[in-house]
Subunit: 349 residues, 3 copies
Amino acid sequence: MLIENTWYVAAWSHEVPDGAMFPRVITGLPIVMYRKADGEIVALEDRCCHRGAPLSLGRREGDCVRCMYHGLKFDSAGTCVEAPAQQRIPPRVKVRTFPVVERHRWIWIWMGDPALANPDAIPDTHWLDDPAWRSLPGYIHYGVNYLLICDNLLDFSHLPFVHPTTLGGSEDYATVQPKIERLDNGVRVTRWTINTDAPRYAAAVKEWPGKVDRWNIYDFTLPAVLCMDSGMAPTGTGAPEGTRVNAAEFRGCQALTPETENSTHYFFSHPHNFAIDQPEVTRSIHQSVVDAFDEDREIITAQQKNLALDPTFRMTAFGIDSALSQFRWVVDRQLAEEREARQQLTGER
Amino acid sequence: MLIENTWYVAAWSHEVPDGAMFPRVITGLPIVMYRKADGEIVALEDRCCHRGAPLSLGRREGDCVRCMYHGLKFDSAGTCVEAPAQQRIPPRVKVRTFPVVERHRWIWIWMGDPALANPDAIPDTHWLDDPAWRSLPGYIHYGVNYLLICDNLLDFSHLPFVHPTTLGGSEDYATVQPKIERLDNGVRVTRWTINTDAPRYAAAVKEWPGKVDRWNIYDFTLPAVLCMDSGMAPTGTGAPEGTRVNAAEFRGCQALTPETENSTHYFFSHPHNFAIDQPEVTRSIHQSVVDAFDEDREIITAQQKNLALDPTFRMTAFGIDSALSQFRWVVDRQLAEEREARQQLTGER
Amino acid sequence: MLIENTWYVAAWSHEVPDGAMFPRVITGLPIVMYRKADGEIVALEDRCCHRGAPLSLGRREGDCVRCMYHGLKFDSAGTCVEAPAQQRIPPRVKVRTFPVVERHRWIWIWMGDPALANPDAIPDTHWLDDPAWRSLPGYIHYGVNYLLICDNLLDFSHLPFVHPTTLGGSEDYATVQPKIERLDNGVRVTRWTINTDAPRYAAAVKEWPGKVDRWNIYDFTLPAVLCMDSGMAPTGTGAPEGTRVNAAEFRGCQALTPETENSTHYFFSHPHNFAIDQPEVTRSIHQSVVDAFDEDREIITAQQKNLALDPTFRMTAFGIDSALSQFRWVVDRQLAEEREARQQLTGER
């Protein structure tokens, strides 16, 4: 069961260049994305309604796509406008289209009822293309259910253990109790570590006179989008009280999109607002994040293997699991609502 | 569900050389084929009745086969004639044999009730070894259900799209409406394209003064055998009326044999009756067909992947699907008859 | 269904060196083994009770293990003794431990009810480290259910067919009828071949004046452990009557441990008590066994493939199958007893 009525990140903008067709499976459905002549993104079902062949193996003809199996041609609204040896095409012959919004280098797609697709519900990730910030685009493919990665992102106590030499810092970090607040469609996590060492990735790009105060404040909202204010400032300069002096600030943007029930697209970036004229700093920060996420992938994939070996295994909840337990509750509530709405629809018919 | 009471092509003659044992899975059953001293082909269940080991890993002893797990020996009728440390072998101890007919370089096998196996029902493919014709043997293994390939062969409107530079010719070819006739055990497709360009594969082996008239006339019969009269002649020389002057003629023979529900053996050849003393012409024609079939495989495998992703997908029938819809009807009728016969047999017992 | 209340071989001693953590799946459960400071082996469930991550990817801390996902620490009794940001840990928070016994280079594990784990029930394999005997340790991983390998070891009539140039000797060997005795938890097989050729592996390490008398006397007991007295002596020197003069004697020890329902760990060794100061003889004997077991694996894996292709296939029992039929009966009886015990337990609750 996957949530449908939500905005998923479908791709980085640069993955869909002019003229090309970009296929990606999202929530189990094959999708093809391309740009019209005016640059606007189109997302069609990547499956000809005739025999199921992928349109992404087909041919662009202006803003239309021709299936290269039998030559059916579809416009950007998914309507079949040409079929070989056939004058009249029944109007029901079309492929499904999906609402898409391209914003700040991310292409968002709505997999559910198009009538409910409100672009205002898309989280703010303007740091991805704000000229005052710098970042590189990240993508990882995961062979696990997306909720296992949500769990990982909702509990930073794993940082000193999974990422001792990258993001982690010292192990006292794990003992900090974060503040967890329930949001309407997710949770807000606020985590301060006072008078600690700067983690290696930050020490690599900025000099620190001594200990630092470190914060991670993030909203994790449906379907699985993390927007984080994180950073560190020299201890004693007042960061916990709201002053950010000589700080290193980041605005991490991360989005998990289920490919199928058991695989996930992971989009991420880690914008920073210092040393923005030094590309090597941006590269270094990005590489630290990539290295750390590879560490996550290793442990989460091993976890998934264990879970697959014995489906009767039951997890034990600890105090550190508060945020992820609350988020899974929000996910389940949304799934229940969508199930109910489908049943009502079926009942009415 | 796969048809049982039918002749399937099991192998090319050369795949079963003297002295060897050739294993192949057909309709989900492991089969081993070999030649007796007199050259006659034997097809046994490739599974010792004792513990299930493959006989094809065993040893030929005259016209017999010895299983090299525990040494049971079977004659060419499948009867166990020797078992270690055992004087008397119960007569029920045998492996199954299958009726086989070797004809025109193809080895045909009957997977159903042997009493119904009538060699007269085997389609005529004498062009495969007729001295007036030349061809090379083709084989492709497919990871899809055989009916998806039947669909492909029953609708030539895909030629200009899937095979633009090989078999296809120009796109007007797709707009031709073929004549479809129902046969007792399949369909006959007649397709004429008048005053068109010779396709590249024909232009490569013969000079054409200008436009040509092109025909594809084929029977597609159970289980999935295509025998085709195809070719082209200069426009205006009377080909549509029955005169074949300066023509290039072919007699394509193709057979699909399900390996399992989701994989298929594909045997094919494309005999021609011109330039038969020029092996490079035969090779060129054969390579064109191989290249084209690779193109088919690419699109059909992608189609299969899409269908596997979402089993709820329903195909939409178009005008061009008449032949394949009729053939699928014939397949379903045969499957229903076999199901009924099995139920009667069970009921009688 | 796999037997639980039994001692399985989990590893060779050398597979679990000091300081390391050694993971292995046994009867479908992930297990991690390690040595305490005093050298004693610990076997824990290799799955943190928190989120299921493998402890074997974690960190040794003295005799404890720390999960490197979120930092939970477990002692060698499986009790969670530390969890980040949590003062009080509920006593039920633990991972499962398994009784283990290290004896004669093998580490034995009990997967069932610990209260029933009696080390006295472990078969005697002292030849593995007896100074009067020499051998090398063998391990093979198999992609088949362990019972297919039991079948193989319980019927030596396959030797001349599967192992003609290694263990097998001449084909008359297959015609010998072994004596089969039912043991309480298995079967005893006694097989004498009088006046036969020495098999190649024995001829390679010892000179034989002429024909030999050859014996294989072995207990095959639950779960799947073979302890064999085998060897050969010159014919006429009285071996069948109990005198062993100028003999080559072996004490083969073999154990099959199901990894899952469809894969198996195979531990084996072939101790000999002659030429024990010649390492090249030990190596030659070991290599002969390894080569022969590779031959077994080839045919058994092919057999398993056939069985998987068609689950309706039924084996036919022959006279040579007496031992394996009896052993399968013992296995089924034990499985039935365990099933009944579980049902009573559930009923009582």
